[in-house]
């Protein structure tokens, strides 16, 4: 149902590096799960509204007032690499396709 090429496509979307040996296994496992999931296509769902939120609430609003937040030091404290008060990351330019 899901083949190796689809696994590679989805892994790229999910920013997940898979070993060559993992790809067939992943295709097999996902296909197995989807086989069960596809049973919902037997249901007649025309005119059924989708539920994205179970509780009826209107989006609450608040005054736009500044409140205390994390300091720069706290925000950077757990980062693997920092420089000049910011997060340090490898160059995006060096990315392979």
């Amino acid at each position: 149902m899901i083949d190796r090429a689809q696994v590679e496509h989805v892994a790229r979307l999910a920013r997940l590096a898979l070993e060559e040996s993992e790809k067939d296994e992943m295709a097999r496992e996902l296909s197995g799960v989807l086989e069960h999931i596809e049973k919902i296509s037997e249901l007649d769902l025309t005119d059924v509204p989708p539920t994205s939120h179970v509780v009826d609430v209107t989006t609450p609003l608040r005054e736009d007032e500044p409140t205390p937040c994390l300091t720069r030091e706290q925000a950077l404290d757990q980062a693997p690499a920092t420089q000049d008060g910011g997060f340090l990351v490898p160059s995006p330019g060096a990315s392979p396709a």
């Binding site: 920013r15 919902i40 989708p50 939120h53 509780v55 997060f87 490898p90």
Partner: protein, 471 residues
């Protein structure tokens, strides 16, 4: 004073208030047990309790928190290697609420990685064992919390439930687990799995403790805009009879696929409920059997978005190389996430990808509407819907690890509930094959006070003795 470990949370709080129990000694007794934990229930244990306000409602009785509750300065890794050593700069609202009510943190408990699993075997820090039989799983994903409470390594604990992750481990460990109404408890500071389903709740030795902890967990939080004020006070349950209560049994969740011993225990308690004055009849939740399919689209889809934040930039693991930013992202995630988390990210990304969205995610959201409608119709005739919590007793370690769907089937009876945003409680319902069985009571939104009352009456009548697991 008898052994303080044998006291429930509420009893310990009362003993402290009466001056019969020293809160420092209680903490030390649990800390020593938790530190000697051979179930791998804990991932971190506190040293000592700072000052305790014995006049506060929870009077210094400590609690254990599932690893995914962010706690300032304390390792909060959500069972994942990608967050190894992460110490958040802030605490989850629930943790702050319990501190505010006078409960110090005893420790953090093991869980399936990012709460994805039904056995705690998916933890990046090794599986937790079931105190009733160490060859078996405690359930999951809040398996560490459930095992800790059952084994008397903690007086009580908190966990989270997305598809059954409080109720199923509570059932498999012989304790009480409550999943509140969606929005009753703030999600702020809970490391997110599936935001439209995740809800925090108590795992306790008895129903009274569940009510007491819940009372101090609920409330509207400006930091979680889906949270709501609880509409009435939560009191300790006292009901002893069930006269006038109407209970509905959905055939879909109580017959096929339920192990004979679990079914037998369920039927015995149904008869008890009738003796207590409840009227019991068949009801139907025709779409509930499709709950698993809808859940395993919606939850992974939301997870694939929530877990996008683990990119090696702001916190947690980074796997560098000389091939630039994209390679850093993909390698960090490949190394940091475990097999089940990768599967769910892949499944969720696929379900949301172009060309598949309507067929998968869109359909699943419609099934969700149908399941909520089914419950609405059932609650027009019944006060509560009752089912077994888990189709089987605790299974052996490794038994279901190679077949994802076999593992997912553990959630068959629990998964429709969060899809409809409803509260449900699992209470111990005796033993089958020497292992605990759970009895689930499901109620309408914000019916927790009545749900706890009904569960309390059943609990008194069932008379489950969990002391064997604390020996």
């Amino acid at each position: 004073m008898s052994d303080p470990i044998e006291l429930t949370g509420a009893q310990a709080a009362a003993a402290i208030r009466a001056g019969d129990l020293d809160p420092g000694e209680l903490f030390a007794a649990y800390r020593d047990r938790a530190a000697a934990d051979d179930l791998n229930a804990f991932t971190w244990v506190g040293d000592e309790v700072s000052e305790v306000d014995v006049a506060a409602p929870l009077a210094g009785v400590p609690f254990a928190a599932k690893d995914l509750f962010c706690t300032e300065g304390v390792p909060s890794q959500a069972g994942s290697r990608i967050l190894e050593g992460y110490r958040p700069p802030y605490s989850a609202t629930v943790v702050r609420n319990l501190h505010g009510a006078g409960a110090p943190l005893l420790g953090k408990t093991n869980q399936d990685e990012f709460a994805m699993g039904s056995s705690t075997e998916n933890s990046g820090y090794g599986p937790t064992l079931n105190p009733w039989d160490r060859a078996r799983v405690p359930g999951g994903s809040s398996g560490g919390s459930a095992a800790a409470v059952a084994a008397g390594l903690a007086p009580w604990a908190i966990g989270t439930d997305t598809g059954g992750s409080i109720r199923q481990p509570a059932a498999l460990c012989g304790i009480v687990g409550l999943k509140p109404t969606y929005g009753a408890v703030s999600r702020y500071g809970m490391i997110a799995f599936a935001s439209s389903l995740d809800q925090a709740g108590p795992l306790t030795r008895d129903v009274t403790d569940a009510a007491l902890l819940l009372k101090h967990m609920v409330g509207r939080d400006p930091c979680d805009s889906t949270s709501l004020p609880f509409p009435e006070p939560i009191e300790l349950p006292r009901r002893e009879r069930l006269d006038g209560l109407r209970l509905g049994i959905p055939g879909e969740l109580s017959r096929d696929g339920i192990a004979p011993g679990v079914r037998e225990a369920f039927e015995k308690t149904v008869a008890l409920a009738e003796e207590l004055g409840a009227s019991v009849d068949e009801t139907t939740l025709p779409h509930a059997p499709h709950g698993l399919a809808a859940y395993y689209l919606i939850a992974p889809a939301e997870a694939s978005a929530n877990l996008a934040r683990y990119d090696g930039v702001r916190y947690g693991l980074r796997v560098d190389g000389d091939q630039g930013l994209m390679a850093m992202y993909t390698r960090t995630r490949a190394r940091g996430f475990g097999a089940e988390v990768k599967r769910r990210i892949m499944l969720g990304t696929y379900a949301l990808s172009e060309g598949y969205y309507d067929a998968y995610y869109g359909s699943a959201q419609k099934v969700r509407t149908k399941i909520a409608d089914d419950f609405r119709q059932a609650f027009a005739r019944f006060d509560f819907v009752i089912t077994p919590t888990s189709p089987t007793v605790a299974f052996t370690l490794g038994e279901k690890m190679n077949d994802p769907w076999a593992m997912y089937l553990n959630d068959y009876c629990t998964v429709p509930v969060p899809l409809a945003g409803l509260p449900a409680i699992s209470i111990p319902n005796g033993l089958s094959e020497g292992l605990p069985v759970g009895f689930q009571v499901i109620g309408p939104a914000f019916s927790e006070p009545r749900l706890l009352d009904a569960a309390y009456a059943l609990e008194q009548s069932i008379g489950f003795d969990g002391s064997e697991a604390r020996a």
